[in-house]
């Protein structure tokens, strides 16, 4: 096991700055998610950690060892990709045992057997050890891929969108499983994803990236409740955060700052539909569309030229075209500099 430190890490692909001067420390045993849209540099960052890419400048450290001269195979890094890397002609048992059989020193047969069974149980394939891996469902293949990497106890575990090919129900299941496994095993884990729900749900800390630049590093709730800029605010959250002009709303700016030039942001769950004449109504809005999601509805509203979203319970569904009031919870209002997008607190 090891900590990871990225020091001024930069990758330049012929003038395209894929990763731009990233500094990031992952403590030993931490679960970090690299989160961002496609093309943000998250996979390139991970490839520099594993050694598949060489940095243009900067250094990757594992504990106090610089990795620039260490080839990928010697870095003790385990990998799980989106496309399950397994031997389809081997049994599940054979796949799990493989890493141990080729290891040096080679463990005894009994040791291998014990370890295979232990890991099979952790990833949930103990019932299908005799099956050919090529005959498994995609869900089970990915469990085998996970177990295969885990069994050799790498110092660092890297996962690149491992669940993005799997169905929604299984993804929801594996989120809890992987989080549980990581805590049990205590391995340092770096998880690359574009799915903010996965990052929020599993990681101890999230590194949000955009255009090769690290935007914010923080716990899921820090990222969600106190985003450092408008990009992070907009990227995280299942229903998009609302951005409104601060100077047009009767809500106080931070430390009495001039609201001109500030963007106000509020998450949909901190707004609420009220009668239009209610004293609680911060603004008057028109109902444009209701999207039922089952447990709740996303209600799309408009206020002047702005689109605003709120959540409501299916029991209290407003009518389309109706004019209602919207109460903004002043305790959960965020402010950003309109010009730079940076948070103003």
């Amino acid at each position: 096991m090891a900590s990871i430190r990225l020091q001024s890490l930069t990758k330049d692909f012929d003038g395209l700055l894929a990763v731009n001067n990233v500094d990031l420390t992952v403590p030993d045993g931490d679960f970090v998610a690299l989160l961002g849209p496609s093309g943000c540099g998250k996979t390139t960052t991970m490839n520099m950690i594993s050694g598949l890419e060489t940095p243009t400048s900067g250094e990757v450290w594992f504990d106090d060892r610089p990795m620039s001269t260490v080839p990928p195979g010697k870095r003790s890094v385990g990998f799980v990709f989106q496309n399950y890397a397994i031997f389809t002609h081997m049994t599940v048992y054979g796949n799990l045992a493989f890493g141990l059989r080729v290891g040096k020193p080679r463990p005894s047969k009994t040791e291998i057997d014990q370890e295979v069974k232990r890991v099979a149980e952790i990833v949930g394939v103990e019932q299908i050890l005799d099956r050919k891996a090529g005959r498994l469902s995609v869900n089970d293949m990915q469990k085998v891929a996970l177990g295969r990497s885990m069994i050799v106890r790498p110092a660092i575990f890297l996962l690149d969108e491992p669940f993005s090919n799997l169905d929604a129900a299984f993804r929801a299941y594996m989120r809890a499983e992987l989080k549980h496994i990581q805590r049990e095993v205590g391995q340092t884990m770096v998880y690359v994803t574009h799915d903010q729900v996965e990052a929020m749900a599993m990681a101890d800390r999230i590194a949000v990236m955009n255009l090769g630049v690290l935007q914010q590093l923080g716990s899921p709730l820090e990222i969600y409740d106190r985003p450092s800029n408008t990009f992070v605010a907009g990227f995280v959250g299942s229903t998009r955060i609302n951005f409104l002009p601060a100077d047009r709303l009767p809500l106080a700016s931070p430390r009495g700052a001039d609201p001109r030039g500030l963007t106000l942001a509020i998450r949909p769950e901190y707004t609420r539909i009220v009668p239009p004449d209610s004293p609680e109504a911060t603004i008057g809005v028109r109902v444009n569309l209701v999207e039922p999601l089952g447990a709740k509805d996303v209600v799309h509203l408009s206020w002047e030229s702005y689109d605003v979203r709120t959540l409501s319970t299916p029991g209290a569904r407003p009518r389309i075209g109706e004019h209602v009031g919207l109460a903004l919870d002043s305790g959960h209002v965020l402010h950003f500099d309109e010009a730079t997008g940076q948070a103003v607190e």
Partner: protein, 375 residues
């Protein structure tokens, strides 16, 4: 515009049955979604409606006309594929005009229709651009425009949003729903994304291995799923299933788990026979499962906690199962915390051994009582 009807449609590819005796009726002007995992037969269903596949058995109707043997180009049904298939070397205008030129419409009529369609879709300012110069959402709209410009009686969309990134997908979901309402056109929408199937259509058909599982409004499907499969594909995180046993004594029905029992008030007739001693599954959605540090609920342990910002998914060990509960973000739990779990009795489901819904508390007020096992 037209009603579309499938009657006992079966389609096989070699030994694989892609569609198995599918009967559906899609109303004129309806927004109809078809939901299922990859391989369920969704795309084959669309291709059968548009005429790219010929069914081995059964018939397809548009309005009152039997179109099973009508050539695809003569069906007056448009389809938009997942990969959009825009002509990269043609401008937006020429992409839109192409199907009209093929139909040999007069030039003025072509101009009029392209103008009307592009204004509805808010792409009139893009008419001179090539597809490569458009954003993902704009390209989507152009492809939609090309399908709409012929004024087809029905429009079929195959996973139209799946290639877009998450934010744009959210935007386009609302946009498509608005558009369909404005156009009032019959729309058949294929997706594997339960959020899309839940939020957009008037009705949804859930498809599994070529067979229709349930056709209802999204909310009925959500609240009264016909079987375990439907309950799993609709809703995220999916419904919890907890194995239990049926107890029948003196005509009263109970569902018993080592940690709790559900008493079902007499008078509620199961949709499927539940026999004494038979294994069954209790179904309860995460948002109807509550977790608290103390109180009267069923004892459980925290397995993991997934903060999502607006809410937290708390995974709980109950017997040998992990069940998911939704909690407000202000409640913080650590792994291995001892907690109490409660279920909303109005939202419980009982599925029989085969996974079919036998009892549902929805709409049957006060019929389910949950008792916590003692000792």
């Amino acid at each position: 515009m037209a009603r579309i009807r499938l009657e006992h449609v079966t389609k096989r590819f070699g030994s694989v049955t892609a569609l198995n005796d599918v009967s559906l009726e899609i109303a004129d002007g309806e927004f109809f979604a078809v939901l299922g995992p990859p391989g369920a037969g969704k795309t084959t269903l669309l291709r059968t409606i548009v005429g790219l596949e010929k069914p081995d058995a059964g018939d397809v109707y548009a309005g009152d006309e039997r179109i099973t043997d009508v050539f695809p180009g003569d069906r007056d049904i448009a389809i938009m594929f997942q990969n959009l298939a825009l002509y990269p070397d043609k401008s937006v205008y020429d992409n839109l005009a192409f199907p009209l030129r093929q139909a040999k419409l007069p030039k003025q009529e072509i101009q009029r229709r392209v103008a009307a369609t592009s204004s509805t879709l808010h792409i009139d300012h893009l008419l001179r651009r090539k597809p490569a110069k458009l954003s993902g959402g704009e390209r989507q709209r152009v492809a939609l425009g090309r399908a709409l410009v012929r004024d087809p009686r029905a429009l079929l969309l195959d996973e139209p949003l799946s290639a877009l990134d998450a934010l744009l997908r959210l935007e386009m979901r609302a946009e498509l729903k608005r558009l369909q309402r404005d156009l009032g056109r019959t729309l058949v929408y294929v997706t594997h994304d339960q959020v899309e199937a839940m939020s957009m259509p008037d009705r949804v058909a859930v498809l599994r291995e070529g067979s229709v599982q349930q056709v209802e409004t999204p909310e009925k499907v959500y609240h009264r799923p016909a079987n375990r499969f439907v309950a799993t594909v609709m809703g995220s995180p999916p419904m919890n299933f907890i194995p239990a046993t049926v107890h029948v004594s003196n005509g009263s029905l109970r569902v018993v788990h080592p940690s709790f029992a559900i008493e079902i008030t007499a008078g509620l007739e199961p949709a499927r026979p539940l026999e004494d001693g038979a294994p069954c599954l209790v179904g309860i959605r995460p948002e109807d499962t509550r977790v608290a540090a103390g109180g009267d609920g069923i004892p459980g342990l925290v397995y993991a906690s997934e903060p999502l910002g607006g809410e937290t998914v708390v995974d709980l060990t109950l017997g040998d199962r992990v069940v998911k509960a939704l909690a407000p973000p202000t409640l913080v739990f650590a792994p291995d915390d001892a907690v109490r779990i409660t279920f909303d009795p109005q939202r419980l489901h009982v599925f029989d051994q085969a996974g079919d819904a036998a009892l549902s508390a929805a709409g049957a007020e006060g019929m389910f009582h949950v008792h916590v096992a003692t000792g």
